[in-house]
């Protein structure tokens, strides 16, 4: 075996690409490293200071009340991905975040000082590629500064890059990032964060959030066989919650990893915040599937179960606080369903690294006998689809199922759902008795189905749902197919939108349009140099963010086209009135919501 060549010189750039917001990432990684190193469990006298030194154009990150680095920790700190922390209850896992510090320095130069419990002083200087902790002292490099004089660590990011400096030195924004990430340890352990970017020490305080009108707390509940949720707190406020704090904060070890948006109307959603904490077992499970940048989780069993748990609690909470019941949206015709599925397919099925999770969609979701025009039953399975068309072991299938009763009378219904492997072995079976009021739509909470190696066979699986009401009416049946540890075949049949292409519009009759009408072959041409599209690309900081934005923009164009077609369709049917326009607008917003908000969760 030969050792692979590694270009460490670009490590910091590669790592920086993983962050949508570098400044937010910087405080998170610094805080995480330092909180992990706290000298006492409750962080007594723990303090982290971010200080800008104008004459050196440098940023120092200095911690107090920590253990400092002994020989072992010093060695680990100087290496990349050489850590066993993923199996420990600390916050860090891959030892890569500190390489972000190098990215902020013009010449990638970072100096580090540390004093451990025995009073040993250590100093190093280096880039992402190499370091030296033997030949020089701090004063050799910065004669005007004294070496670190207390147990702890101080990091010097030398000569900040001009293009990152302005954003970084916006101390209010920086403090907000800290507050949004570390509010739990600030509140519980009185952890101190100091930001001094303009010569004055600013202490990060526990954020002042609007007064809660309603609160719901769930405690100590089991999540599958993975562990327990320690606490879920949901609050509905009188006034709008600041943007950084909206949604449900998913906490691990005192740090907010991600905020899950609440599924509700804008006016309600903006007034809800909350958080969720886990016991040690579930925290460890979640840590294993956490993104290395600490900004989300992978589409794995632990996260899927935890997220589904939070979603159910927040859905129930929203239902409770909604002043008016959500307007029932009549089953949109096939066109919308297909377009929504496309959006969700794109975001979750084919780009899980963007979404960091799988929520719904996938599968064909066709009613039996598709292809022929048939009447839509008044009582029916409205939605039935799976989270992904392809699953791997250790992932879960999330089934989205909604029933509709379009009659004026309540109905007693039975829903049976099963999942079978292509060789006819049954994987899952469940029966539900449902009382569904007239003119109502209801979501059915189907449990997550996990797939494990050596237990579940790879290959094609079919999920089927049958709805009966025991009154002799023909049962309504829907199904979808998905593939376990096997590449699905290419989609069959005609779809609404097949291909997106891009062209330059300058000087052409359509230069002010975002996209051209969908062709007969399902090709959507998107105008690449449209001012809005150009703006979207320019705003994206990194290439990864740019890719993300292009992807979302293309999806939005697809949605716009679907809505346009739907309006035409309704108009031709003579059904287009102000109510219908409003319903279509709501649908459009819901599609945007799925396409835009879900990936950031």
């Amino acid at each position: 075996m030969k050792r692979r060549d590694v270009n460490l010189g670009r490590t910091d750039e590669n790592i920086a690409e993983q962050y949508l917001n570098l400044c937010e990432g910087l405080q998170k990684d610094a805080g995480q490293n330092s909180w992990d190193a706290r000298a006492t469990k409750k962080g007594k006298n723990w303090k982290l200071e971010f200080r800008y030194i104008p004459n050196l154009n440098s940023l120092t990150i200095e911690d107090f009340g920590t253990r400092g680095m002994n020989a072992k920790r010093w060695k680990e700190y100087q290496s990349l991905w050489d850590t066993t922390k993923a199996e420990e209850v600390t916050l860090g896992a891959r030892g890569q975040g500190k390489f972000l510090f190098h990215y902020f320095a013009t010449n990638k130069l970072v100096l580090t000082e540390s004093i451990d419990e025995e009073g040993n002083y250590r100093f190093s200087f280096g880039t992402s590629e190499e370091y030296d902790d033997e030949t020089k002292k701090l004063t050799d490099l910065i004669p005007s500064e004294k070496p670190l004089g207390h147990q702890g660590t101080r990091i010097w990011i030398m000569d900040l890059k001009q293009e990152l400096k302005d954003e970084l030195l916006d101390y209010k924004a920086f403090m907000n990032y800290i507050a949004a990430t570390w509010w739990e340890i600030v509140r519980n352990w009185d952890a101190t964060f100091i930001v001094n970017f303009n010569g004055t020490d600013h202490k990060v305080m526990f954020p002042e959030l609007p007064v809660a009108e309603q609160e719901k707390v769930f405690a100590n509940e089991k999540v599958s066989d993975l562990g327990r949720v320690k606490k879920v707190v949901l609050r509905y406020c009188k006034n709008e919650v600041p943007e950084l704090f909206r949604g449900i904060a998913v906490q691990r070890g005192g740090m907010t990893i991600v905020r899950l948006p609440v599924s509700a109307e804008e006016t309600i959603k903006n007034k809800i915040y909350g958080y969720c904490t886990f016991d040690e077992d579930l925290e460890l499970e979640l840590k294993r599937v956490e993104f290395p940048n600490h900004f989300g989780f992978m589409n794995k069993k632990a996260w899927n179960h935890a997220k589904e748990y939070i979603r159910r609690k927040s859905d129930a909470f929203v239902q409770e606080i909604s002043p008016i019941k959500k307007k029932e949206i009549t089953l949109p015709q096939d066109l919308i369903e297909r377009a929504v599925r496309i959006v969700n397919d794109l975001v979750r099925q084919y780009a899980p690294e963007l979404a960091g999770e799988v929520i719904r969609s996938g599968g064909h979701g066709k009613t039996e006998g598709d292809g022929k025009k048939r009447e839509v039953p008044k009582i029916r399975i409205d939605t039935f689809w799976g989270s992904a068309r392809k699953l791997e072991y250790d992932e879960s299938l999330i089934t989205n199922c909604e029933l509709v009763n379009d009659t004026d009378n309540a109905a007693k219904l039975q829903l049976e759902m099963e999942i079978r492997h292509e060789e006819d072995t049954r994987k899952f079976n469940a029966k539900y008795a449902i009382d569904l009021d007239g003119n109502k739509k209801e979501r059915i909470d189907i449990p997550l189905v996990d797939f494990q190696e050596n237990i579940d066979k790879p290959g094609e699986y079919k999920a089927t749902a049958i709805l009966t009401n025991g009154a002799g009416i023909e049962p309504h049946k829907r199904s979808f197919t998905f593939y376990l540890h096997e590449e699905p075949p290419p989609p069959r049949g005609r779809v609404f939108l097949n291909t997106m292409r891009f062209l330059y519009g300058k000087g052409k009759p359509f230069e002010r349009r975002r996209q051209l009408p969908l062709t007969d072959k399902g090709v959507l041409y998107i105008v690449f140099d449209h001012a809005d599209f150009t703006h979207v690309r320019e705003l994206a900081g990194s290439k990864k963010a740019q890719k993300h934005e292009v992807f979302l923009y293309a999806i939005k164009c697809g949605i716009d086209e679907a809505i346009q077609k739907l309006l035409e369709f309704r108009y031709n049917e003579g059904q287009l009135d102000t109510d219908e326009i409003s319903v279509i607008k709501d649908t459009c917003d819901a599609m945007y919501y799925d396409a835009v908000l879900t990936p950031t969760a």
Binding site: I342, D345, P490, L497, N498, F502, T519, A554
Partner: protein
């Protein structure tokens, strides 16, 4: 379960039908096919194609300035040499493997007038910029040693690109200088089995 990679492409001029009318537009080769599982790779490719297009536009502006210095550009070895220098951007920006597509875009779609004027077919249009690109790699001193026609043939010798020490090029340039070989003779020489085949190229007489 390896996925096929997205095919490298470029912007190209093509005709599409918009509201029943045929319009010539510049479209990207990259296309996002929903459900292909390669959506993100396709966007990567799209952004690369944009990067290439921007580089092409910059290069064309530079070439326009060069063209102003050479009112008579036909068969002008120095014009080709200077343009060839600009065309080195394909190497510096890491687009070497797509240079055929880039030449097509520059010499067929955008500015055939800067590359031997006549609009030829797509394949043929690539040859002139390719020649310029290789000429641009030569030293000024060497360019001086042969005529335009001679260079057109010289740069077709495969051996030139395999010989790191440039001994082969040196030999053929020496012969060109001494004997003033015509383009036809160089071509024959290249096709001849007696052409340079090692041992100090001594078989050529």
């Amino acid at each position: 379960m390896t996925k096929r990679k997205v095919r490298p492409g470029i912007l190209r001029r093509e005709k599409i039908v918009v509201n029943g009318k045929e319009i010539e537009v510049d479209t990207f080769d990259a296309k996002v096919v929903l459900g292909s599982g390669k959506e993100l790779e396709s966007i990567d490719e799209l952004l690369t194609e944009e990067e290439i297009e921007n580089a092409i536009q910059i290069a064309l502006k530079e070439i326009e300035i060069i063209a102003q210095k050479y009112p008579d550009r036909e068969k002008n070895v120095w014009y080709c040499y200077e343009v060839g220098k600009v065309l080195q951007f394909v190497d510096t920006k890491g687009f070497t493997d797509r240079r055929g597509l880039i030449w097509r875009r520059m010499a067929f779609d955008l500015r055939p007038d800067l590359f031997n004027r006549r609009k030829k077919d797509t394949e043929e249009s690539k040859r002139y910029p390719e020649f310029m690109y290789h000429l641009g790699k030569q030293s000024k001193k060497n360019v001086r040693r042969a005529t335009f026609n001679q260079w057109r043939e010289i740069l077709k010798f495969k051996e030139i690109y395999e010989d790191e020490n440039k001994e082969f090029l040196e030999q053929i340039l020496t012969i060109c200088e001494k004997e003033g070989l015509s383009r036809q003779r160089i071509k024959k020489l290249r096709e001849s089995k007696y052409s340079f085949s090692g041992e100090g190229h001594s078989k050529y007489k």
